[in-house]
């Protein structure tokens, strides 16, 4: 009898424990999803941030149970769509002026600094041409591949760097290929079709390129300021403002910023990031 009673108690205990474990495992998702009106959030960002956002979005989704409907494309194009009447709930764009314009036009509720990009020289493994500084791109016989036909952050920014360094004409004379896409250009450098190119550091952190090129820093003084800044903000069209704000908070958290850093960006919450925020004036109007 005593044994039976004991057995019943154990069974009841096991049932309760199992139910509690199940509830505990589901609780973070349910609680987070339950605290918002919406179960989906539409996020648009600059295409250059896509790899980082995909990773960060997965983390956010697993934490909250909220689905992120994400689109990543050339920020100026997305910005044009947004100014033209398209809507999204959170927008992470490149170029400070775009964020300010969206605020002025009453499309965006607020923005915060997200991260910064930087430009580097890339050479095939071994750096056979011995590239060390920008000046080396002017040497006779160096095969330079440049993405000048790419969208402005990949094309115009590179021209800007060469102009600031005062070597534009000489380097262009060494240019053997003028590419229209930075991603498509990378295999040409990896495969040794060219000796050197200039790209955003993020390109060297993509899975297909990481460890396959030599990365040589370019002094910051040559960077054109425009394309360096990424911001993130909640749009006025957000159906669930609390959810959009929570998402922006998450992307600006140390946890998510580490993802952006890993993908080759300078996080806004780093020392360098804070210095750039002041230098470039990345403050909401």
């Amino acid at each position: 009898m005593g044994n039976k009673k004991c057995s019943m108690d154990r069974r009841a205990f096991l049932k309760t424990a199992a139910a509690a474990a199940l509830t505990a495992s589901l609780a973070p998702q349910r609680l987070a999803a339950g605290q918002f009106k919406a179960d989906t959030l539409q996020v648009w960002s600059c295409g250059g941030l896509s790899e980082a956002f995909n990773l960060a979005n997965s983390q956010f989704e697993s934490k909250t149970g909220v689905r992120i409907a994400y689109t990543g494309a050339f920020a100026a194009a997305l910005g044009k769509s947004l100014l033209g009447g398209a809507t999204t709930e959170v927008f992470a764009g490149r170029v400070l002026k775009l964020a300010k314009t969206l605020r002025e036009k009453d499309k965006m509720a607020y923005f915060r600094p997200l991260c910064f990009t930087e430009y580097v020289m890339v050479t095939p493994k071994g750096n056979a041409a011995g590239i060390k500084t920008l000046e080396d791109l002017t040497r006779h016989g160096v095969r330079v591949i440049l993405p000048l036909g790419a969208s402005p952050p990949g094309g115009d920014a590179v021209t800007g760097i060469l102009k600031k360094a005062g070597i534009e004409k000489t380097v262009l004379a060494n240019m053997t290929e003028r590419e229209t896409c930075v991603v498509k250009m990378m295999p040409a450098i990896i495969g040794g079709k060219g000796d050197v190119s200039i790209v955003e550091k993020r390109l060297t952190r993509m899975a297909a390129h990481e460890g396959k090129v030599e990365v040589i820093p370019i002094p910051e003084k040559f960077f054109p300021p425009g394309p360096l800044t990424f911001t993130i903000g909640t749009m006025n069209a957000a159906t669930d403002r609390a959810l959009a704000d929570h998402y922006v908070d998450f992307i600006c958290s140390r946890e998510a910023q580490a993802i952006f850093e890993r993908q080759g960006f300078i996080p806004a919450d780093s020392d360098k990031g804070r210095m750039l925020i002041e230098k470039l004036g990345v403050k909401d109007v």
Partner: protein
């Protein structure tokens, strides 16, 4: 039941098998094909997938790209243009549109003979764009994004070149409502490429010397052709159509 009815009944399971294979391949290759037309930022799709900025394309995130470019040459050496008739999702779409087309154009005349050169024109244009011009980026790539939203943005931010390329392709596919399988028969660059090597295939559907040119096979062919002639995809729909049993499948002894 007449002999012809018996033969037609015997071929029906093969036709259903082909439709089943096509439907299966739609599941495998369909999304990649969709990306190729609507979201590929380059004029010639399916050739630069591994260095493409669109990170959600199946040609980039799966091993389909390598599998496709390995299987395609093997398939053409074994079965000619069977890819077009059995595996291509675009082929299935065109054939379904062809069911509703006003003109089946299942005839042999100067026009159908001349129009088939369009396959090689399409191939030549693609080769120039890809190899000579370096397949330049003609559209702001929607690197990651939802299905319809991305298509809308693609069209919104494409260059005129990309829009012309895409509307030409879509227009020729839509022209299939007028002339059956117009894209596959007279314009498809992949079809043109396979057509070049079709004659070297090991196995094929072919006419024997007993053929009396009655063209009954032509009348059942979705591609408006006869066995082992231009545009024959070895689909085998014609196997039961010959009144004198002059259509065979296998190795053709010359």
């Amino acid at each position: 039941m007449s002999d012809n009815e018996l033969k037609t009944a015997a071929v029906k399971p093969l036709i259903w098998l082909r439709r089943a294979v096509q439907t299966g391949m739609l599941a495998v290759l369909g999304q990649w094909s969709f990306y190729g037309i609507f979201r590929c930022p380059f004029p010639v799709p399916f050739v630069d997938c591994k260095a493409c900025p669109v990170i959600t394309c199946w040609g980039r995130v799966t091993s389909l790209f390598w599998g496709f470019w390995l299987v395609l040459p093997i398939s053409v050496l074994l079965f000619g243009r069977a890819f077009c008739g059995w595996l291509c999702p675009g082929g299935l779409v065109n054939q379904l549109i062809g069911k509703m087309s006003l003109f089946k154009l299942r005839i042999r005349n100067r026009f159908t003979g001349f129009a088939a050169w369009g396959l090689f024109a399409g191939l030549a244009a693609s080769l120039v764009l890809w190899l000579y011009l370096g397949n330049p980026r003609w559209m702001v790539p929607i690197r990651a994004g939802e299905f319809w939203n991305s298509v809308r943005l693609s069209f919104e931010h494409a260059t005129p070149f990309w829009l012309v390329r895409t509307f030409v392709v879509l227009g020729l596919v839509a022209a299939g409502f007028l002339v059956a399988n117009l894209w596959c028969r007279f314009a498809c660059p992949t079809g043109g490429l396979l057509e070049l090597f079709r004659r070297f295939s090991l196995f094929r559907v072919f006419k024997t010397g007993a053929c009396n040119d009655c063209d009954d096979c032509l009348k059942v062919c979705e591609m408006g052709t006869r066995p082992d002639e231009v545009n024959c995809t070895n689909c085998a729909d014609c196997l039961g159509s010959c009144p004198i049993d002059a259509i065979k499948v296998g190795r053709k002894r010359v």
